[in-house]
């Protein structure tokens, strides 16, 4: 039998696949939200004066960054029930994505916070700005601008990584595709199509983030 392509079954399954795309976005958004919480909390403990807190945070970052996401999600998948947390696969996947993204977010956010020079705040106060104004215009906005490219890049990475959550059967695009594949045996067609979908998702995100950046962070630095 020669090679034959049949995308018919894929078109029939299109609505299911598009729901899968939404699942992927939901998973990535929830994971990223958790990652930001861990990231902000982690910056506090990472720069804390209490040594054990600092050491624990650094260990967490190094362990997460130097082990594969697949092993992390398997570990959580089996470890969480032992802690008495009986969660469905999708929630487990969100936690895994959040923990993984969080480790990277800590270092990104820390870099942004440390990029604001102390003299900036003092200069703002000396110019007669309110404390709230100083925080908003002189600390927060430049810090956000400094971390924006890395953080949005991280979000896109997390979106792509979420495909690995199919290995614990979380609800997202890849696991939806796997179900269609096992029904139709059109492996290549199914995976090729959802690869294009992932490409479209990351392209839309990248363009969207660039537009926001131009609107919001478009002011001279020096």
């Amino acid at each position: 039998m020669g090679p034959t392509l049949d995308f018919g079954v894929v078109f029939e399954a299109m609505p299911t696949l598009l729901w899968g795309c939404l699942g992927t976005m939901g998973l990535a958004l929830a994971g990223m939200s958790l990652a930001l919480v861990i990231g902000i909390g982690g910056v506090v403990t990472r720069t804390s004066h209490i040594r054990p807190l600092r050491v624990a945070t650094i260990s967490f970052i190094e362990i997460i960054r130097n082990t594969p996401f697949l092993v992390q999600i398997f570990f959580l998948f089996f470890a969480l029930p032992q802690l008495g947390l009986k969660l469905n696969p999708t929630v487990t996947a969100i936690i895994a994505l959040g923990v993984n993204g969080g480790a990277y977010a800590i270092e990104i956010i820390r870099g942004g916070v440390q990029s604001i020079h102390k003299g900036q705040t003092e200069a703002g106060l000396a110019l007669g700005l309110h404390k709230a104004q100083v925080f908003r215009f002189i600390v927060l906005k430049p810090a956000l601008r400094a971390i924006y490219p890395s953080l949005t890049g991280q979000f896109i990475m997390l979106t792509l990584t979420s495909s690995i959550c199919s290995s614990v059967a979380a609800y997202e695009l890849t696991s939806v595709a796997q179900r269609i594949e096992s029904d139709t045996f059109r492996s290549f067609e199914v995976y090729f199509t959802i690869t294009l979908m992932y490409l479209a998702i990351s392209w839309i995100l990248m363009t969207g983030f660039a537009v926001i950046s131009r609107q919001y962070f478009n002011y001279p630095t020096r």
Binding site: P68, F78, T174
Partner: protein, 217 residues
């Protein structure tokens, strides 16, 4: 019957580890060779070539590694190429690595002062010699920290071969875990092995970075 985590199980993980290391080495060498061509093409004066390489890089960076693995794995079968699983997986990782290394090296080539190219031109060095003797040695040096850092991503990425059933470290862990019913212990050990493999590289990459940052100051 569950027998607990003994030498036999650990030995099985080590066989998996051997494949993880082999797969990483193959992908790094293959990806390095193709990636060099990608970087050269991406920084070439030919607009069409440069654009094509940008699309190549963007496609691999904009899709999940797992999907690339699936598409290559099933795509090769579809066009009638029968390869052992390790070879199909190695091809996918090589292509992926070539895009990421290509992008890292493109950055390094473009970071070189323009004067380097201009001086080489003024000396009327031919294109090949300009690349080989002037541009690449300097660019690859600048790119060292990022290249070593990428190696960590590559090693971690090979774990996805487990999902298509290839028995490397992560898949070996799954198998052992299913046999002895101690998933936390087994995946803890598997994670520790990955960590011992990746952490020294991460430290080395960070050290190279501070060294170059100090040298550039």
């Amino acid at each position: 019957m569950a027998t607990g985590f003994g030498l036999k199980e650990f030995g099985f993980l080590l066989v998996g580890l051997k494949w993880t290391v082999l797969l990483s080495i193959i992908a790094f060498i293959g990806g390095g060779i193709v990636g060099l061509l990608v970087a050269i093409g991406r920084t070439a004066e030919n607009r069409a070539l440069s654009r094509a390489m940008a699309i190549y890089i963007g496609t691999f960076q904009g899709t999940p590694l797992l999907m690339q693995l699936f598409v290559v794995y099933y795509g090769l079968g579809l066009i009638g190429i029968q390869l052992p699983a390790w070879a199909a997986v190695a091809i996918a990782f090589t292509l992926n690595a070539s895009a990421f290394l290509g992008e890292i090296w493109r950055g390094a080539i473009q970071a070189l002062p323009r004067g380097q190219t201009e001086a080489a031109n003024a000396l009327s060095l031919p294109y090949a010699s300009r690349l080989r003797d002037v541009i690449l040695p300097q660019a690859l040096r600048i790119a060292q920290p990022a290249t070593v850092g990428y190696l960590v991503q590559l090693i971690k990425g090979t774990s996805l071969a487990a999902i298509v059933g290839f028995i490397e470290l992560a898949r070996a862990g799954q198998i052992v875990s299913n046999q002895i019913f101690e998933p936390i212990l087994v995946f803890g050990v598997v994670g520790a092995i990955y960590f011992l493999l990746c952490w020294p590289l991460s430290l080395y990459s960070a050290r190279l970075e501070t060294r170059y940052a100090a040298a550039a100051r």
